[in-house]
């Protein structure tokens, strides 16, 4: 279990898959992201763009004392400012995790796994 919240009525446990899905949906909302990539490129095929149900393959979630740490593996479109897109991903992911889970997020590490060259470029 990744995130455990204690309430007076009992515990709430949120699994890593849930976090991965939230992270994936938040990241792919960001302009400039064309897809999530697998963290395990060799096994899952080089630069395969993950489908929504496989977002967990592109997100690594760890718990530390200072909060949740997530690694996000993404593919960006060619021609965007990658550093800025990544910053946007970080702030959106952090915001969504904190609003939807109420759990503090310590770090959002973004791994750009590929650049997709869009037609006509």
């Amino acid at each position: 279990m990744a995130v455990s919240i204690q309430t007076k009525y009992g515990n709430v446990d949120i699994s890593n898959e849930v976090i991965a899905t939230i992270v994936g949906c938040a990241a792919t909302d960001i302009y400039g992201i064309v897809g999530m990539a697998s963290k395990n490129q060799l096994r899952d095929g080089f630069n395969t763009i993950l489908k929504r149900e496989n977002f967990a393959k592109g997100v690594v979630v760890r718990q530390t004392e200072s909060g949740t740490i997530v690694d996000v593996y993404i593919i960006v479109g060619y021609g965007v400012k990658i550093s800025e897109v990544c910053r946007n991903v970080q702030s959106k992911v952090k915001y969504n995790l904190e609003t939807l889970l109420g759990a503090p997020t310590a770090h959002v590490n973004v791994y750009v796994q590929g650049v997709k060259i869009l037609e006509e470029d």
Binding site: T28, D29, Y31, V34, G77, G79, V80, K81, K92, Y95
Partner: protein, 553 residues
């Protein structure tokens, strides 16, 4: 005046005016920013992005519009900031690519370039979110393309683009629910409208006076409204942690108090550590900072390390919003030796507790239990060396214990389950004893008091041998229903009979918000008659739900 061809001069003018108009209204755009993350910086980001594009165009000596558009595209790419900034850079990247080889532009070519920009912009995203700047850009390009079919007048085409953009902007709240909720249009889309309006003006177009333009005061009002909203939201799920909206502008290198070189990331990270809602904008000469923090002085001291403070501003957001949100005003108290926090509601009870030495009252009780967070806040704000907590309700003890574990201040929880227990415990408090000793003594004292409560039954029920009808009076002793009936005097007397033993001395009656002094005196009289050895005391507790709280000790 009609323009049939855009040369390098018109093009440069368009970019300059677009940048100017966006810059003027950046604050307003910030105020609309709720998507994708409500951090109020879309206007700032777009403005910085577009200025970078403008600078690049301005520095170019080319007289070829296609080449100028390349400079614009490059400048925007390099300067892109924030989500809207990135999208803007893509729109003009597609725009530039489309007119790469054109030395000048006709109305048709301009419209085609606008369309191409939108196509490029839509491609670079996995799932385009409608109701954003993308929607607005598309609305503008479609309208422009439409007019270009029948007109060679570039001013007319640009006017169509502006109107198309505005129309699309107006639909954004219907497309994106989060906008509708807050009652704003998309901030990035609004930013693009300003850019296009600037283009139109540069072409000699006059924006009609009747059309809506927010002026400075209005903008401030909207800014405040959005600010309020953000802060209010914080109040509802979380108390404001960082109460001071702090802004400063540092002129880098001027009279700096340290020799450290300015590093944007370090600077930002430091401020991030002491506040939230952080916005740091820097160029080579100045840094602008907006942050909500509990420690404005730290922000300024840190800023001084890198240069002179050109502008500073602090707003106390708690005071600002006190009128909107009912909340206990938070003030710094002088450091005290012992903080005693009690949970109670009703002005009478609050006064009684205060007269017994309680330093902080957390409003709450039977129907509204304070959260762990409320208690943590109270502990932290007590500014005491050590803290004792009287939950005064069985349901709050857990929350208090949790709170005690989180805070740095040594804290002891006295597990008082009723107001009467809380009061009795306070009588055993010794200012000079240490925390453990007080905890032990006060906890011991809890068992010496029996707490009775009189209230009205809300439904028919049967407990043990007691048959209770709705609206009957019921008497509870330490949480268990022991008597019921219709006559208050009789119920109270029977209840007290279950509470007294040979050690009992005093009966205390607390009159609730629904009780009366007269009736309390009658009850008192009645008890004394039945138990001549007992003394009675009557206090005005003003507590909700229980018209009379009667304790025996």
């Amino acid at each position: 005046m009609s323009v049939n061809v855009i040369t390098n001069n018109e093009f440069k003018d368009m970019i300059r005016m677009g940048s100017h108009r966006l810059g003027q209204n950046a604050k307003f755009v910030n105020s609309l920013n709720v998507f994708p993350v409500p951090d109020g910086d879309t206007g700032t980001n777009m403005n910085l992005t577009f200025q970078s594009g403008y600078q690049s165009v301005n520095e170019s000596t080319s007289t070829h519009v296609g080449e100028l558009a390349q400079s614009l595209s490059k400048g925007l790419l390099m300067g892109a900031r924030g989500n809207s900034g990135v999208i803007t850079s893509q729109i003009f990247r597609g725009f530039g690519k489309n007119i790469e080889s054109k030395e000048t532009l006709t109305a048709q070519e301009l419209a085609a370039a606008l369309v191409a920009g939108v196509q490029t912009a839509y491609k670079a995203v996995m799932k385009p979110v409608e109701g954003t700047i993308l929607t607005v850009a598309r609305g503008a390009s479609e309208a422009a393309a439409n007019v270009a079919k029948s007109s060679d007048d570039i001013t007319q085409v640009m006017l169509a683009a502006v109107n198309g953009a505005r129309k699309a902007l107006a639909t954004t709240p219907d497309l994106l629910p989060v906008l509708k909720e807050v009652g704003v249009v998309d901030s990035g889309g609004q930013g693009l409208v300003f850019i296009y309006e600037g283009f139109f003006e540069a072409l000699g177009g006059n924006l009609e006076a009747s059309e809506y333009q927010p002026d400075e005061t209005e903008m401030d009002e909207m800014l405040n409204a959005v600010h309020h909203q953000a802060v209010q939201n914080q109040f509802s799920n979380d108390d404001i942690q960082n109460g001071f909206c702090t802004e400063m502008m540092v002129t880098l290198g001027v009279n700096a108090t340290s020799n450290d070189t300015f590093n944007y990331d370090d600077f930002r990270n430091y401020l991030d550590g002491i506040g939230d809602s952080l916005l740091v904008v820097a160029d080579d000469e100045v840094v602008k900072v907006h942050v909500h923090t509990q420690h404005p002085q730290k922000v300024f001291t840190y800023g001084r390390r890198y240069g002179e403070l050109a502008k500073i501003k602090i707003d106390n957001m708690r005071i600002q919003h006190e009128t909107i949100v009912e909340d206990q005003p938070v003030k710094e108290q002088p450091q005290i030796d012992y903080g005693i926090i009690a949970v109670a509601s009703g002005t009478g009870l609050e006064k009684l507790f205060q007269s017994l030495g309680v330093t902080t009252i957390i409003s709450g009780g039977q129907t509204m239990n304070p959260s762990t967070k409320d208690i943590v806040t109270a502990i932290e704000q007590s500014n005491a060396k050590r803290v004792l907590i009287l939950p005064n309700n069985g349901n709050i003890i857990m929350a208090a214990k949790q709170a005690g574990q989180v805070v740095d201040i040594p804290t002891a929880i006295i597990p008082s389950k009723s107001i009467a227990q809380g009061m009795t415990a306070l009588l055993s408090f010794d200012m000079n004893a240490d925390l453990e000793q007080n905890e032990a003594n006060m906890t011991d004292a809890l068992s010496t008091v029996k707490s009775g409560q009189i209230t009205t039954a809300v439904r028919d029920t049967e407990i043990g041998n007691l048959k209770i009808n709705k609206d009957d009076l019921i008497g509870l002793v330490d949480g268990d229903i022991v008597v019921s009936g219709q006559d208050l005097l009789q119920v109270s007397q029977e209840m007290v009979a279950k509470m007294v033993d040979e050690d009992s001395e005093i009966v205390t009656i607390l009159i609730g918000a629904d009780g009366s002094q007269e009736m309390a005196e009658n009850i008192s009289q009645n008890i004394v008659t039945a138990f001549p050895d007992l003394e009675t005391e009557i206090h005005n507790g003003d507590q909700p739900i229980y018209p009379y709280l009667i304790s025996v000790e």
